[in-house]
Amino acid sequence: MDFDLTDEQSLLKDTAQRWASDTYSSIEQLTAARAEPLGFPEAKWAELAELGLLGLPFAEADGGFGGGPVETQVVMEALGRALAPEPYLASVILGGGAVRLAGSEAQKAALLPGLIDGSVRLAFAHSELQARYDLNDVATSARAVDGGFRLDGRKSVALNADAAKTLVVSARTSGDRRDEVGITLFVVPVDAAGVTLEAYATQDGGRAADVILTDVFVPADAVLGTVGAGLPVVERVVEGAIAALCAEAVGLMEALNALTVDYLKTRKQFGVAIGSFQALQHKAVDMFVALEQARSMALYAAMMVEAEDPAERRVALSAAKVQINRSARFVGQTAVQLHGGIGMTMEYIGAHHFRRLAMIELMFGDTPYHQRRVAGEGGLVAAA
């Protein structure tokens, strides 16, 4: 049992935090970044590459730094604290995660160097309108044709797909819409004939796109992993994303709690700092407790995301997401409440933490979804 970071991890933490706080220390910097065509400045993405952060989770043999879940956690916390809009989750964790877990040597050689040096961004186009959170629900079809496949369908809310050069797309090569078997992952260039993106801003200041695939031809070597066996890869990619989101949420909540406590100490009403009122103190304490509980479960997620047993992994990640969601909602809502009117305004940065936390709740499974999954697997405490 050891909760300390190694020296290298501490150094990484300093690097990531320094970059994030230098880059996004004010609402003006954040607003300017979001106003860029892709929702973040290209130059800042290049800085993340220079710092080595884009290559973090990839094996040294693939040109990466061989970092594990704790390294990812450290970076995501720093990005979360600063509300950084860069598509680290979409490109490195999701798109990059699929290549890392299922890519052939040739695919890794083709995709990872560009991802790591910042010249190529990836995105993950899996979810569909009807699927809600069910990862097995895939209607997009992939028809085997001479020399490859033809893809038809519509992918929904693919994070930062408009900033990507290459998409990882799931499509059904066999079976019915909700079958677990028959899902295949493909590497699809965004400029392939028949690929259309309908991009939009998201409620948390980020960007996403619906990806429309109309008779898109991909060669046979575009298959990522094994034909028909894509679901386990999708599950692992999403588990990685949940662990990363848990860490991001902890960073967000840390920042929001600090803002709130600071506000309680400086805002005066009735001639005194409002932090002298016990009713408000106790709310702030509940926010602190919610943060610490979330931090514990983010640690748990990082520890369990590479567990061998899929059932054990699934329950652990679902449990972590439930705690993060609950804490995120409580911390976000209470922060706005304690700030009063100013917390309701877009010019106040804490309002943006609240919005991001609220959207994190809905990503890769909300509270009822994950709670049911934990219950369905029999829970966390053994009955015997």
Partner: protein
């Protein structure tokens, strides 16, 4: 960063787990698990077995019978003890008066009291709270007036848990009547057989006799029963309250109750099947389990941080453990009542004394009393509101 135990710690866990399951009588553990009343003899039997093994007071200094265990080992020991439904070594003896005497008592007191505290030959109770001094403990009014070689003590103590069994009381009494509040309080040991000590039961919300009022009427106590210095009692009381707070979350107990709820749900009829088929019930149970897992890791973080902390200073993070731990204990007792449903109503059952304690509803008459009784856990040991004040001040700086 590694949340796992080392192989040595896992071996230690197996050792204590096996000991608890094989050496502590099953009927005593069943009473704890079911929330039934333990007799005085049950506590004594269990603690003697622990004491013979050298495990009654692992938290004490080694010189007085403690173990040189790491913080992690102490944590594992307590968790396994609770999960095996072993009665906790008597709190008043092992976690309260024992460490105070070991730290602040004189040699004569250590020799006289510590061995008997550890073996439970003497049963101790706590004389802190008074009718007018609850959360505001320092406003206590019990007076100890020095007359020659004795103190004459007058006052009233309350919420004296298991005082009906006690041989001794450790008591806070005012010895300086001019000094303000926290100053002027002394820590005095009272033999419960002394004339003028009267114990009167308080029947609590669960219908049981667990706590008492203790009236002290001109009780004559030799001055050699003063611990440490006169008027320094508040410091000793603070030490006592801060001592070994990590067990306060009672995570092992909540886990034990959840495991039991699961076993019972599988045999409790509902609809066409059992309560285990009720996904709504299971989802609410899962919600509690998830928070408990988070708290377990929070507790491990506090334990890990102890290695670098001054052990005599309270860790304000332990207030999180108290708040969340008590809420989760209460939540598990509510789920148990829900599981019993209408069968929670009978205060005694025609099928009582069934030889299978987990047979159909044989357990259900204890469900509501346990729920009622557990309302106390967010009140005692510094109410949860007081814990909020502690965090607001010590951690948030408000």
């Amino acid at each position: 960063m590694d949340l796992r135990f080392t192989p040595e710690e896992i071996a230690f866990r197996e050792e204590v787990r096996t000991f608890f399951h094989t050496k502590i009588p099953a009927e005593i553990r069943a009473k704890v698990s079911e929330g039934r009343k333990l007799a005085r003899e049950d506590y004594v039997t269990s603690q003697r077995i622990l004491n013979d093994k050298g495990w009654a007071v692992p938290n004490w200094p080694v010189a007085y019978g403690g173990q040189s265990w790491s913080a992690v080992q102490r944590y594992i020991f307590m968790e396994e003890l609770m999960q095996a439904a072993v009665p906790l070594p008597l709190q008043f003896n092992c976690f309260m008066v024992g460490p105070v005497i070991a730290t602040f008592g004189n040699e004569a007191q250590k020799e006289r009291f510590l061995p008997r505290i550890k073996s439970l030959e003497d049963w101790w109770c706590q004389g802190f709270s008074e009718p007018g001094a609850g959360s505001d403990l320092a406003s206590l009014k019990t007076r100890a007036v020095r007359e020659g070689d004795h103190y004459i003590i007058d006052g009233q103590k309350t919420w004296t848990t298991l005082g009906q069994y006690a041989d001794w009381m450790f008591c806070l009494a005012r010895t300086d009547f001019e000094a303000k509040k926290q100053k002027g309080i002394s820590f005095i040991l009272i033999d419960m057989k002394t004339p003028g000590v009267t114990v009167r039961p308080i029947i609590t919300i669960d219908g049981r006799h667990e706590v008492n009022e203790v009236f002290l009427d001109s009780v004559k106590v030799p001055v050699e029963n003063l611990v440490g210095e006169e008027n320094k009692g508040w410091d000793y009381a603070k030490f006592l309250l801060a001592n070994e707070r990590t067990g306060i979350a009672r995570i092992g107990m909540s886990k034990e109750r959840i495991a039991r709820i699961k076993r019972l749900a599988k045999v409790t009829p509902a609809g066409a099947g059992t309560m285990w088929d009720d996904l709504d019930f299971r989802s609410r149970l899962a919600a509690v389990e998830i928070e408990l897992k988070a708290l377990e890791i929070t507790q491990m973080r506090v334990v890990a941080a102890q290695a670098t902390r001054d052990p005599t200073k309270p860790d304000p993070a332990s207030s999180i453990l108290k708040i969340k731990g008590s809420e989760l204990q209460q939540a598990t007792t509510e789920l148990l009542v829900e599981l019993a449903g209408p069968q929670a109503l009978p205060a005694s059952r025609p099928d009582a004394g069934h030889n299978d304690a987990e047979a159909l509803f044989a357990w259900a008459d204890a469900a509501a009393p346990v729920y009622f009784n557990h309302r106390k856990v967010s009140i005692y040991g510094g109410s949860n509101e007081i814990q909020h004040n502690v965090i607001a001040k010590a951690i948030l700086g408000l």
